[in-house]
Amino acid sequence: MGELLRKLESIDRRWIYLVIFAAVVIPFLMNLKLPVGKHSPSTTAVHDYIEQLPPGSVIQMSFDYSPASMPELEPMAKAVVRHAFEENHRILAMTLHPQGALMIRRALDEVATDLNKEYGVDYVDVGFKPGGVAVILGMGRDIIRVFEDMDARGEKLSAMPMMRDVADYDDIALMIDFAANSLPLAWIGYAHERYGLQIAAGVTAVMATDLYPYWKSEQLVGLINGLKGAAEYEELVGAPGFGVLGMSSQSIAHLLIILFIIMGNIGYFVTRRASQNRT
């Protein structure tokens, strides 16, 4: 046993990479569907908040991520967009990330076409605006002015039917930030605290731990955490997609990592005891 553990301690780490890779690929090949599990209260909170909004409410969505974070954030963004459209809400899409403009088109346009939503009436894409905090603060006073009265396609915002009802944050029922960075904190600090805008966040799992205290303190309406949160939201809206599909691989890979951690700890204690016995 001791000899085996010593061998495992000095194993080439590339074998571990290979095993993890196999754990991710095999569930896809076998079409394995493990249950997503009980839905997190923080994800359900976002879903329930959107459900209770009156039809026609304007939901602002900021797609603050790049292709590097797409696997985690795009499934949840698509699920939330679908939910908002199905509840007949309108969407104001924007991004504070230079590479976010493409993310808006990927997440929004496909679902909008699928549900026969009309641009300018049901949704508007104002694209990327540099300035970060200055943009957040400016939108609290005059949204159209901040975007120079022009959307991402070069059309006049003031001429769009949807934008006739949208002047500032008072006209936004909920703002959801899909982010792979600390921008949700900026939205909380400058839009929620200063203007009282209700904010939810959909973030990468790395970011989620930092944001849970803000959900507990009710500064966030809800929080969608990584691929798990995306899968939960897909189930809540009854539209399983890449989030649900990826969760089987995620679960098996996690089990494997837990096994590695247990084996590593056993190995550590056995070898430590052996070296203590020798001395």
Partner: protein, 242 residues
């Protein structure tokens, strides 16, 4: 119609290729190039890494030029060049424009002191805007959330009460761990030890979430390879077989 189809084809070495298919093959090749780092550092990985950095920087420059410099500076000064030629020139934008140019003085050692003024302006602006927001967001609201009544005034929700108690004990014990003016002995020693446990749980949760995030990225690539790239490969292979 046929002309439109023809114009959407990429012609490389006399071969007519669909740009979407070329894009998928490029994505797959670059995915394998990046993953090849797991075997060890190699020139293929280095090439993909440098390509990524270069494209990201180039894309960023173009976006900032198109979305910030042109509409917020050049079209304001010279409206006849922009989409609103009837508007009057706005010379106030010369001030932020000049501050922006002064930032670039860092590249000229003799004049790099000029960059201190826009930096001072930016720091001042964000300190002014940020301090009230940060105090409200991170201190007052968080402190208020910590001090929720554990037993409440009306009916008692035991789950909620326990949650409030854990938060309260966690905050107090963790704060005592960072209190260094007295030796950690007696009551302070016990609470600081409990504080360490709370910190460890927080670090563990952070690590677990990080693992999930990294695994999601791998899953994303595997999904791409299996559901977007592999069907293209099988179509090409079936053509060969036929």
């Amino acid at each position: 119609m046929a002309d439109a189809e023809q114009s959407s084809q990429l012609i490389i070495l006399g071969l007519s290729l669909n740009p979407q298919v070329v894009g998928l093959w490029l994505q797959a090749a670059l995915t394998f190039a990046i993953l090849s780092f797991l075997i060890g550092d190699n020139p293929v990985y280095k090439f993909a890494e440098h390509l990524f950095v270069g494209i990201s920087a180039g894309y960023g420059v173009v976006i900032v030029w198109k979305q910030a410099v042109l509409p917020l500076l050049i079209f304001k000064l010279l409206p006849q060049l922009g989409p609103k030629p009837d508007e009057l020139a706005d010379y106030w934008v010369l001030i932020p424009g000049l501050l922006g140019l002064m930032m670039l003085a860092r590249f000229i050692p003799r004049y790099d002191w000029l960059s201190r003024y826009p930096i001072a302006f930016t720091v001042g602006l964000f300190m002014g805007a940020g301090i009230p927001a940060v105090v409200q967001m991170n201190l007052l609201q968080q402190a208020q959330a910590t001090m929720k009544p554990v037993l409440g005034l009306g009916s008692i929700e035991w789950g909620l009460a326990l949650s409030c108690l854990v938060v309260l004990v966690g905050v107090i014990c963790t704060l005592t761990y960072f209190y260094f003016s007295r030796p950690h002995e007696g009551v302070l020693g016990v609470t600081s030890k409990i504080g360490i446990w709370f910190l460890m749980v927080a670090f563990g949760a952070g690590f677990g979430n990080t693992v999930m995030a990294r695994m999601s990225l791998l899953i994303g690539r595997v999904e791409f390879l299996l559901y977007e790239w592999m069907p293209i490969v099988s179509v090409h292979l079936s053509k060969y077989v036929q």
